[in-house]
Subunit: 195 residues, 2 copies
DNA sequence: CGAGCAATCTAGCCAGCGACAAGTTCAAGT
DNA sequence: ACTTGAACTTGTCGCTGGCTAGATTGCTCG
């Protein structure tokens, strides 16, 4: 697994190696189990090497969060409608659980990091675009509320899913499909038109 | 409160003191900043004293989570209807941010703890009761979906609120009130059984 | 009443961690 | 050839969690 670089005692791509190892650890054991020294060991480098790429532990987590927001923005970019955008949101949580966990835990992050803020803004814009596309929700106050509602629904569903709280109610079914019918059920009534 | 005899020994009530200090730390700096030794220092006892009441760090967090589920169940108990129950859920998150954060981070908890499981079951029952009370959602599949939807909405709203992600859209308004109108907006149209 | 006993707390230890500082190697660019 | 700077190593400090052994306390029961 350690990208064997015979001869060169400079690891070929340590930043990437540490990043992916970190995602693996977070996804399986949670962010609390993350240790820079452990990551260094996995990559076959000295204990202080990772710090050169990510200042400190918070820096690493912040980089992961920023990457997560970029991935989320990408994932939302070309969705058909608002409901599909919600499905993408949920899918993002399922496919990138480590990113997702870190992104929404502000106490783990450097909140003023430039890359993080930029990525978050991009994802936020993508989110808001999705709401604006729905004609019936209309303008002003209602549009904003609908946006919060949609985001809350998708985020809550994804969060509960990742925290094992929806294991029983969802059963063996595909979570994305469950969410799709869920969203249809709810938003069908919030506009004038019925199905 | 939870099954404690709380006699006055060396400290008086160390368990309670540590618990409240922990909640304070978590609420202000997050669960990652929690240190048993720091809590011991605050309580004026030796560094190993807290471990006697809560086995280890995970034990402390598990106790907090269990207490959180108890508090949540209490909070949901006498709500008028489903929407109000959602408002209570959000309010719980706002009033007990430390509990809320810990409850839904499984990697911090001892998942097989008896007290935790009992408390979680109680809160879960309370949650399901709230859904069953709504007549229009009806029976079977739709009822379950509506339950997931309601929970997701409330949970997502609370989570986003606590992670500072709703600061701008909510603005200066009362979050509970925002959620109330939100829930009304969504659930007003979902009563007629579709399909 | 007083002796045992268990709950509570202390003190000391170890391995591991994050952060920092200073040195080392390497690949360029001038 | 010499410098410059990035990537990495080595060493160290203070802190943490968790363990163990031992001390103290107060409750209970004979």
């Amino acid at each position: 697994m350690p990208t064997t670089k015979s001869g060169s005692y400079h690891h070929g791509d340590l930043r990437h190696a540490v990043l992916t190892a970190a995602l693996d650890v977070i996804a399986t054991e949670g962010p609390g189990a993350l240790s820079l020294r452990d990551l260094a060991r996995r990559a076959g480098v000295s204990h202080a090497a990772p710090a050169h790429h990510f200042k400190d532990r918070t820096g690493l987590l912040t980089a992961i969060a920023a990457e997560g927001y970029e991935l989320l923005a990408d994932a939302l970019a070309d969705a058909a409608d608002l409901r599909e955008r919600g499905v993408r949101y949920v899918r993002f949580g399922i496919e990138h659980p480590a990113h997702f966990q870190v992104m929404f835990q502000p106490d783990l992050l450097r909140g003023d990091d430039a890359a993080l803020l930029a990525a978050r803004a991009r994802a936020g814009a993508e989110l808001r675009t999705g709401v604006a596309e729905v004609p019936a929700t209309g303008r002003g106050e209602n549009a904003r509320l609908a946006g919060i509602a949609a985001w809350s629904l998708a985020h809550g569903f994804a969060t509960l899913l990742l925290s094992e709280n929806l294991r029983e109610p969802v059963g063996g079914r595909d979570p994305e499909e469950v969410f799709r019918t869920l969203a249809e059920l709810l938003f069908s009534g919030s506009r004038a038109s019925r199905k």
